[in-house]
Structure formats: structure tokens, C-alpha cells
Amino acid sequence: MPQFQFDSLGDFLSMGGDAFFVWGAYAFFAVSMIWHIIQPGMQRRKVIRLVRARMQRDQQ
């Protein structure tokens, strides 16, 4: 099992001096992934609401 490369959490966060770039890249990555997790869910609720409203309108 490969062992943890960094002495402390602080060292891990500093990422060998390039913290801004590594964590910046992963931040963009995380934001996009979260967006692509939330967005389909919101879209689904919007679609269901839209179709149900249409069904009511058709029934009258």
C-alpha cells in the first residue's frame, strides 16, 4: 500500500510550493463536476414540472 507522501497536512496543502496551481486546477475541476451533478437534477425537476403543467392544461 503506497504510504502518504507528505509529513503533515500543512505540507500536503502547500503541495511543494505549487499549492495555488495544483489546488486551483482541482478547484476548477471540482466546481465543474459539482455543476454537472446538480444541473441535470434541476433540469429534471423543471422538465417534470413543465410536463405536468402541460398535462393539466390538456385535460381541461
Binding site: P2, Q5, H36, P40, R52
Partner: protein
């Protein structure tokens, strides 16, 4: 021979098939991503040359490959939509565009953030980064064209035509950018790091992250396509019956 193509292309079949399959795909994807990323970020020894910033490669490379793969898939869907008029293929292509653009943009952002510590500048006109930039332009052009039409049918057909024109052009664009690059600079530096002989313990987390991102793409694609199917088939009997049933809690 066409019967099975049309049966396969029926949105209802796709919806029913994916209902059971989706949760499993999501679980496997998250597992792969978490394992790969934690491993890559924390447990891989720093690179002797670049120190720790090579860890960006774990997401940069899958993103670049993913963007091109997504475009290829979108082109196949566009071809199926234009040639055999399979509506499901267009719904899938529509969902591919947004995801493809995101993967492409992420590849550019991570590439430039990786470039700063390694070569001192955020943007270098390297052949692969430039081709990725142009691929992003094409993705955006396709989405812009699709939304520019009032009627959804024409918009989809127009976007499919542009996708197919794009798929013919993109290899030529890549070749011209590579040639143009050799005209102005030596060979691209970015390529060096990923081809250098990485020992297995550096390479294996990339395997997890790569698979995880492919899984993530399909999982997001299926969810988006299901929404498009519900919207597109709203008039059909099975959608109305599905929506009136209580157990659909959202």
C-alpha cells in the same frame, strides 16, 4: 436490418434500460474518482523534475482525451440523426455538447495552470493546447447554432450538419496547428512529461481517474438524455403515465 436500429433508437427503451443501470454507474464512478484522486494527490511520490505540480496531469490528460472522445461520440450521434433520422441520437448529441465543452475548457484551464509553474507562462501556443482551444470554439459554435433556431427540429438538424462538418475539419485543423507549431517553436514541451517512462505507481492512479471521468461523463450524459427524452416525448402515453404515478417524488 433497419428494424433493430429503430427499435434500439426508441427513447422509451433507452429510458427503461437506464432506470436500473444508472445508480450502479454512479456509485462505481464516484468510487473510482475518489480512489484515483486521493491516491494521485496524496500517495504518489513527487516527480524528480517538476515536484508536486505534475499531479495536475491526473485530471488534465483524461480531460483532453475525454473532450476529443466526446466530440467523436457526438459526431456519431449526429451522423445517426442525419442519416437514419433517429431522434434519440440527437437527444444524446444535445447532451454531449455541454459536457464536451466543459471537459474541453477544463483541459485548457488545467493545462495553463500546469504551464505556469513548469514554463513560467499561463498560455503557450503549444500544438495540443491550441487544437484543444479550437475544439472548444467548435463546441461553442455547435451549441450557439442549436439554440439560435426557434424550431427545435431544425436546430437539431443544423447542429448535426455543423458537427459533421466539424468532424471532417478537426483532424485537418490539428494537423495544420501541429505543422504551424513546428514552424515557430521546437517540439511541444507538454508532450514530454506524459510520454516519459512513468513507473507504475505514478501511472496507476491515472488509470482510476481516467476510468472515473469516463464513468462520470456517461452518468451525466444519461441523466441529461433522460431529461431530454421526457421533454421530447411529453405527449406520448408512457411519459404521461409515468409522471402521474405517485412514486415519482421529485
Amino acid at each position: 436490418m433497419w428494424q433493430w436500429l429503430y427499435r434500439l433508437g426508441s427513447p422509451k427503451l433507452f429510458y427503461d434500460m437506464t432506470t436500473g443501470f444508472l445508480p450502479w454507474l454512479t456509485i462505481v464512478t464516484y468510487f473510482l474518482l475518489i480512489v484515483g484522486l486521493v491516491w494521485g494527490l496524496g500517495f504518489v511520490p513527487p516527480d524528480y523534475q517538476m515536484g508536486d505540480n505534475f499531479r495536475i496531469a491526473y485530471i488534465h490528460i483524461p480531460m483532453s482525451v475525454g473532450a476529443m472522445g466526446i466530440y467523436a461520440m457526438m459526431a456519431c450521434m449526429a451522423a445517426m440523426h442525419m442519416i437514419w433520422n433517429i431522434k434519440l441520437a440527437d437527444l444524446v448529441a444535445r447532451s454531449c455538447a455541454a459536457l464536451g465543452a466543459t471537459y474541453c475548457a477544463l483541459s485548457l484551464v488545467t493545462g495553463s495552470l500546469w504551464g505556469k509553474p513548469t514554463w513560467g507562462t499561463y498560455w503557450i501556443w503549444d500544438a495540443r493546447l491550441t487544437s484543444m482551444l479550437i475544439l472548444l470554439f467548435v463546441f461553442i459554435a455547435i451549441m450557439a447554432l442549436r439554440s439560435a433556431y426557434d424550431s427545435e427540429n431544425s436546430g437539431s438538424k443544423a447542429a448535426s450538419v455543423l458537427t459533421l462538418v466539424g468532424v471532417v475539419n478537426l483532424p485537418i485543423i490539428h494537423y495544420s496547428v501541429v505543422w504551424w507549431n513546428t514552424l515557430h517553436q521546437g517540439d511541444s514541451i507538454l508532450g514530454v512529461s506524459s510520454q516519459s517512462a512513468n513507473p507504475p505507481e505514478v501511472w496507476s492512479p491515472a488509470f482510476f481517474v481516467g476510468l472515473g471521468l469516463i464513468g462520470f461523463f456517461f452518468q451525466a450524459l444519461i441523466r441529461r438524455t433522460r431529461n431530454e427524452i421526457l421533454l421530447h416525448e411529453r405527449r406520448s402515453q408512457w411519459v404521461q403515465q409515468l409522471l402521474t404515478s405517485k412514486q415519482l417524488q421529485e
